[in-house]
Amino acid sequence: MQCVRIWFKKNGRAKYISHLDLMRSMTRAVKRAGIPLWYTEGFNPHPYITFPLPLSLGVESDRECMDIKIEDGVSLEEIKNSFENKMPEGLEVFEVSVPFNDAKEIRYATYEIKLKFVSDSQAKNYLEKSLQAIEDKSLIGHKKGKKGKRKVIKDIPLAEHIFEFESSLDGDMLKIDVKLSSGNENNINPSVFLNSLNENAEIEPEYFLFYKTGLYTANSEIFR
């Protein structure tokens, strides 16, 4: 048995595949690819498939990964090639590697957020207010959570979770590059971040697009 990390893209319509659905879709893709999955032993055998960091619904990414356990005797190259023409639209396997980092080592994720506003002035206004809030460390995120069985909304100060913030304005379009806390302990969903900006600026963008651009470990090395 060997554990391999499958790297794939999730773009276009595929960004609407939720995490649970992605698990099922990828398991089936592995079966279509004819990769010899390793199964847990016991009464109800099932394959071992995990995602080090699930991607939020509606976010595109060029570098997602999942870990699977497979039988020995298949090379990484063979695994990669067997996914050819077996993937649904928007999902594409581009690399297969031996896991280097443990999923627990993930600390940061970087995102690119593209926003379009109804007017140039609104975009400018939005950016100014956002920059001020970053400076003041005043952004508050609303995160869905659970208290026992009850669903609650938790307010969390975002300042300690925002590590880089860059922006560029082009007419009514605003592009934001941001580095946020990520991983098991403190995961900040980019839509939580965006909602806090919207709330702070009291402006709703006309539309927005999210891309995940990278995953990093504690010493800001690329997760691989």
Partner: protein, 614 residues
């Protein structure tokens, strides 16, 4: 591709995956390179429609053609519908994202009566006129198939052409004819007249219906050259019949998301309540090799973890052991489960149990249908109490700790004794569990009984019978609840109001068109969903249209009454149904078709062949 307008609102509705398309094996073509654009509409949610095998077959069949592109359309759930209307987004097809009003053909599958309002709702969301007579140009032509078109009269105002029977061959005949008429620039009327002359196509507007003063049908008259009776389409050889090699694999969790193999068509049993058992005659089996090969191909192109062998009565398939042998040969290694729905309690063999145990254990369901032998004889469900108990015993001995039992209430000639029988038989199944010495220690048994309300359907021996009133069904439900004294038996019910409305529409005539339209205008849709069904609005719609629903549901018809579907020919003559009805009232059973041919005449549809007699 979905439009940016749709993208903007899609994250604000439940399950965006219903509306995006882009699934594996969905077919994308260049719209400029096809002559026919076909919107295949399932009038219910994505999750239900994507579970339907008929849609998969016809989708692939049409897309095999170079000149046609078939796309899928489902009823948007109410949250999405609201957003679509708000943002001016017409109903679109999932593959191209194009509005279906610009398609050549809009086809619906009518699988259950309570989806009729959804058909109207989808046409309206598409921006297409509801009524056939108000759509004057050839395109889009609105067609419908599925079991409900055996009596499609309630939908006659809305559908241009219906396709009674099996679609695998007639669809191509229809498309060829359509293409010819479209390219020649012919009118819709010319096309409809041409359709009406072809077996397997029914054009409702080519028939006039007259009524007697008492509301019954007086006469159904064919117009022009249309035939007096319309024959259903039949595929003679199902072994060589088209079957898809690929299924569209949904991203989101749908009801049935698995490889499906149809193992045979028709049913040898002749249960008198069962419409499917008569509509799909004669019996035609696929060979074990064909099925095995088809399953393998679909598995390889989908990665599905389960295969379901589908038919009306799986254990009646003559090559079942052979087929399971062939399937298990590769499915065990691939960790693929096999599920066998529709097992019969009377031939649930030891070998079968052992084969089933090799794959992951699924639930077992036995259809007893009625509580006493007398009533089971009336409905010709030739299963004895001992057989149900024997099957349960085998299941318990093999490690199952629960079974599911199907029953119906409201059957013709039913008395309270028969209702009590349901409780008794179920209790005896519970007792079987405790008789088993090897049962798991400290574990109780679960017997789930599902009790449906009987709805008389066209093309069955009970098509003349009165359906029990809602009050009577409610009383019987309460009575049964009082008869069940153990917590080991869980009872599941149908809403008797929904069964009532199903019964009304099933045996309805053309006059119900305006009732359906009125109910829809009042907001009725997703009527088969318990939480969306609005009975009061239906009653108001009947009131406003001056019709009584009880006339359709609760009235016993005489054998000489003209039935609204008398001009439809499904291969079994009325006199056969009359004979069966009379036997039912004498508590007499009819042997299954394999023991003895009972002369239903359906074999004539296939040139005299019927696999029950092989």
């Amino acid at each position: 591709m979905i439009s940016p307008k749709v993208e903007n609102l899609i994250l604000s509705v439940q399950k965006p995956g219903r509306y995006t398309g882009g699934e594996l094996n969905s077919v994308i073509k260049n719209k400029d390179e096809v002559d026919i654009r076909y919107a295949f509409c399932f009038p219910d949610t994505y999750e239900i429609g994507m579970s339907h095998i008929g849609m998969k077959i016809l989708y692939s069949l049409v897309n095999e053609r170079k000149d046609a592109w078939c796309e899928r359309v489902f009823a948007p759930w109410v949250d999405m519908e609201e957003k679509m209307i708000e943002n001016d987004i017409p109903l679109y097809a999932l593959e191209s994202g194009d509005p279906i009003k610009d398609f050549d053909i809009i086809g619906f599958t009518l699988q259950y009566e309570l989806s009729y309002t959804n058909v109207l709702n989808m046409l309206s969301l598409a921006g297409v006129e509801l009524k056939s007579k108000d759509r004057t140009s050839l395109t889009p032509i609105v067609i419908a198939g599925g079991p409900c078109v055996c009596n499609g009269e309630p939908m006659a105002d809305f559908i241009d052409v219906m396709l009674p029977g099996e679609g695998e061959e007639i669809t191509n005949t229809f498309l060829d004819l359509f293409k010819e008429y479209k390219l020649k620039g012919k009118t819709k009327q010319e096309f409809l007249e041409a359709c009406s002359k072809i077996d397997g196509l029914y054009v409702p507007s080519m028939y006039d219906v007259d009524y007697n003063d008492d509301g019954t049908v007086k006469e159904i008259k064919a117009k022009g050259d249309a035939p007096q009776t319309v024959k259903k389409a039949v595929v003679k050889d199902i072994d060589s019949m088209f079957y898809p090699e690929k299924f569209v694999v949904p991203f989101i969790d749908v009801v049935h998301d698995r490889t499906v193999a149809e193992i045979f068509r028709g049913c040898i049993r002749g249960c008198r309540f069962c419409q499917a058992g008569f509509l799909y005659r004669p019996i035609r089996e696929k060979s074990a090799d064909t099925i095995n090969e088809q399953c393998r191909k679909i598995y390889e192109s989908s990665g599905y973890e389960e295969i379901s062998l589908c038919s009306l009565s799986t254990s009646d398939y003559t090559q079942l052991n052979d087929l399971l042998e062939k399937l298990l040969d590769w499915t065990i290694d691939e960790k693929v489960n096999i599920s066998l729905p529709s097992l019969r309690a009377d031939n649930f063999s030891k070998e079968l149990v052992e084969k089933l145990k090799k794959v992951r254990k699924s639930g077992l369901t036995f259809a007893a249908e009625a509580g006493t032998q007398r009533l089971r004889d009336v409905i010709n469900k030739n299963v004895t109490e001992e057989e149900v108990l024997e099957s349960s015993r085998k299941a318990f001995q093999n490690g199952w700790t629960g079974v599911k039992l199907y029953y119906m209430i409201g059957l013709p000639t039913e008395t309270d004794e028969d209702i009590e029988g349901i409780a008794k038989l179920s209790q005896n199944v519970v007792n079987e569990y405790y008789k088993n010495e090897d049962r798991p220690k400290g574990r109780g048994v679960n017997v789930n009984i599902s009790v449906a309300s009987f709805v008389p359907k066209p093309f069955t021996p009970f098509q003349w019978e009165a359906q029990d009133t809602m009050e009577e069904l409610k009383r019987k439900q309460e009575y049964l609840e009082n008869c069940v004294t153990t917590k080991k038996i869980n009872i599941g019910w149908n809403d008797s109001r929904i069964s009532f409305m199903e019964g009304v529409l099933a045996r309805g005539d053309r006059r119900l068109g305006k009732v359906i339209e009125t109910a829809w205008k009042k907001g009725c849709k997703f009527d088969s969903w318990d939480d969306r069904f609005e009975f009061e609005k239906w009653l108001e719609a009947f009131e406003e249209c001056g019709l009584k629903p009880e006339f359709y549901a609760n009235r016993k018809r005489s054998f000489d009454e003209v039935l609204p579907w008398d001009h439809m020919d499904y291969g079994i003559p009325k006199k056969y149904f009359i004979k069966e009805n009379e036997k039912a009232h004498r508590n007499e059973t009819t042997q299954n078709c394999r023991e003895k041919c009972n002369g239903c005449m359906a074999n004539k549809l296939c040139g005299g062949e019927c696999d029950a007699m092989r």
